[in-house]
Amino acid sequence: MEIKSCLTIHEVGKLLKKKEVSAVELAESCLQRIEKLEPHLKAFTTVTAELALKQAEEADRKFKHGEATPLTGVPAAMKDLLCTMGVRTTCSSHILESFAPPYDATVIKKLKDAGMVMLGKTNMDEFAMGSSTENSAFFVTHNPWDTARVPGGSSGGSAAAVAAGETVYALGSDTGGSIRQPAGFCSIVGLKPTYGRVSRFGLIAYASSLDQIGPMTRDVTDAALVMNTIAGHDAGDATSVDCPVPDYTQSLTGDIRGLRLGVPKEYFTTGMQPEVSQTVRTAIAKMEALGAKVDWEASLPSTSYALAVYYVIAPSEASANLARYDGAKYGFSYAQTENMWEVMEKTRQFGFGPEVKRRIMLGTYALSAGYYDAYYLKAQKVRTIIRREFEQAFEKYDAIVTPTSPTVPFMIGEKTSDPLRMYLSDVCTLPINIAGVPALSLPAGFVGGLPVGMQVIARPFAEETIFKIAYAYEQATDWHRMKPEI
């Protein structure tokens, strides 16, 4: 039978449950779509067709024996920094090009236990450092809404694959916006959960005080379904928090009457494309019409310092995390020299791309003797101020709503020559990681045929509030039903 593309998890789940389609047929249909679209999109670093079909057969058996979960048999794609046992995990870097991890990340294990069918690993900015997926050492991923444009980053492969219907859902990771910004650019839903909500065990680390794993899906219900499976405490990640995981689908009521929303004016200033600002304001007005109480004059005064705080803290942590790539234990190793230190230096010189080197250099400088107090410690103190402003805001509001990005997706090549301009495309998402709070991007409309994302932010562990608001808006609009013509 012909299977429609661009189905959601809950739609696919119904078909599987009613035995209208088998998991194997579904996997085959996705693999065919991947084969057809990949020459134009380049969203995958590795396609695991054989594994997918094997897992699909297992999923069909689970259905037969009545052991299926809402994710059983549902095709998925994983960002290529989540360790997958025996399956190449590259971080889109030459240094890990042939690395096959000996274990699964906790999220991968949980999804496997739930019956995932893994289609493959998705392209990203090398080591998750970037906002366009142009920093992949392998190739650039294209935006399904306009293939001359970037899909955003760093989880650009995951976003493009979901938006184009190559996969039903994907996982990404978000250190400064890497789930939300590409979700916004590709008109899908992307959630960065609270710091500590999802285990990072087996996530290849970039900046450990900021990194979180989260779902990238076609709609809000799907994001809730994935969170039900991946959230929770894990002894393998000391920062994961031991608090109960609710059934997130219970918050999908559609009723947001009386909820207090703050719209911080600092998120609508310099560098914002006027049409994007207008589109998001119109979307927020829709929430007001649905019964939310909106304060259009909310304020997070220190927002403008977030960019500098992020670009001190994240590279500092990265410089420490990436010290492990020394050419001794795994990955690329420079062989044409006899001296150990030279092996290390050359391995890193030829193994890392320019942006990764830039951030290692920045971080090493910020942590070096004589500069630690002026940069790293200072940034950590300003981080406290930003975090406190969010805490204070959440005394007044149930959620804060902002644009996800200041612009629509930009052209491939437009910002690659100027790192600072590229960094600015994350101004609306960085403060959220700094504060450690959860935030979700969802489709809010289009400008000239290009997607605009809206960001809903809540207090720590209030993902349910986010889902409630996002679902109500989604159900009142049609943006999530639009599909790119590709």
């Binding site: 000996p102 710091y195 310092y305 234990k329 103190k381 406290t384 600072l420 450690g436 709070v437």
Partner: protein, 97 residues
Amino acid sequence: MSLTREEVMHIAALAKLGMAEEDIACFQEQLSNILENFEVLKQVDTENIPPTAQANALCDVMQDDTAQPSLSPEAVLANAPRREGDFFRIRAVLEDD
């Protein structure tokens, strides 16, 4: 904030990053430019503000030291660029005089 060529080379040495000649000049310009943008942090009054190392309240997470199976030497060494028996083989650490 402007970095000298020597400073760039010093940072690269600390980071164990080999550098081609053209990289040094490029990083000198780009890093100086980025560091200049960090100067805005000086405007913020952080007197009596404690630093935030990470955003949730957890600290000193303890757990029982339970024995459990670990990866086999074969699995651990499978990705080794060079190995000798059950060891990673690396180039000489100490050089001959």
